[in-house]
Amino acid sequence: MEIAAAPELSFQARIDEGVKIEPKDAMPEAYRQTLIRQISQHAHSEIVGQLPEGNWIGRAPTLQRKAILLAKVQDEAGHGLYLYSAAETLGASRNDLVADLLSGKAKYSSIFNYPTLTWADIGAIGWLVDGAAIMNQIPLCRCSYGPYARAMVRICKEESFHQRQGFDILRVLCQGTAAQKAMAQDALNRWWWPSLMMFGPPDEQSSHSAQSMQWKIKLVSNDGLRQKFVDQTVPQADFLGLRVPDPDLKWNEERGHYDFGPIPWEEFHQVIRGHGPCNRDRLLTRQKAHHEGAWVREALNAYARKHEKAG
């Protein structure tokens, strides 16, 4: 679909004025494709993200924690659904998007390729991973594409308890036995750096950023969000009595921000390439669910077709 130069200028002007772009509006093909990729990646992350947390639903240590975790994982399924819906308004089909995920072609957030080894990991995920996600999602409520922005608003409303529940899990652990406190510290040790990597590569290496910023598909830079996350989270770790596993972490009075150590980007790239601890398992689990569910979906379709004339 070709867009002439004049409509493209008015497209950018609309974005600059903060007027939302809606599904039927003329838009550059690159805008549409970038959005489909970004939204679907986000959707895939929510769906795959159910797995590391779902791993502990059966072993939640109290009935209340079990209920809260069930509700959280359910929310994540819901968020995936809202996001697939938003991507579909751009002409993508959920079937195709899912096929790309299952074939390994589509990406999802690297963080979900790490294992949940203890109950404290569930706390760390809520506190750090959801914390990072919220930081990314709130600005997206103002993104230029209407359906995506509205999905983000809905998601942010539901997200509010996710981070708090994670932090609360850790708070109780840190006030508990020595073994529980050690469990919490161990979780922070393993989840800290991957959480910082969630914000993506450094700005100067991020290829899509400039155009996405201009189109208001991306509203804050990777490094900007990362810094904000560190500044916000370190005091929370202090409150918990936990030590952030970064020997270079230091408050910089002059900058008014925390200085932090070098991020192990090689690890990030390896995980993105599929070599993280859980990439294979996550994909196999989703493939299995999809494959084993095929007869169910066929049955639903067959029943609906049989009965549609009967009304």
């Binding site: 809606e22 599904p23 039927k24 509006d25 003329a26 549409r32 819901g78 659904l81 809202y82 819906s85 938003a86 579909e88 308004t89 751009l90 002409g91 089909s93 959920r94 079937n95 899912v98 359906p147 509205r150 999905a151 809905r154 095929a294 979906r297 066929e298 639903l300 379709n301 029943y303 609906a304 077709r305 009965h307 549609e308």
Partner: protein, 89 residues
């Protein structure tokens, strides 16, 4: 099949479009909409409409008014042609 979902919350006002979901028919779409978009709060009113059944105006673009095939709610009308043999919803 893709359905658009409209919800009227308990405290009145008009139905509001909240998003879409996949379902094999309207009955299941309604049940799913309760679970997905209301988390089963009582007293909400739900409308489900197959996306393909919605006729939409075009955004002030003169050519589009003369292209009846272009009046679907989403961008690509061809997107609705899901062959019955396709295994997924």
């Amino acid at each position: 099949m893709l359905f658009e979902i409209f919800i009227r919350s308990q405290h009145g006002l008009a139905h509001k479009h909240v998003g879409s979901l996949h379902a094999p028919d309207a009955a299941m779409a309604l049940a799913n909409a309760r679970d997905v978009y209301t988390r089963r709060h009582e007293g909400v009113s739900i409308w489900v409409v197959p996306s393909a059944e919605i006729t939409a105006s075009s955004p002030g673009n003169r050519e589009a008014l003369f292209e009846p095939a272009n009046n679907k709610v989403y961008r690509h009308p061809g997107f609705y042609d899901i062959p019955p043999e396709v295994k997924n919803l």
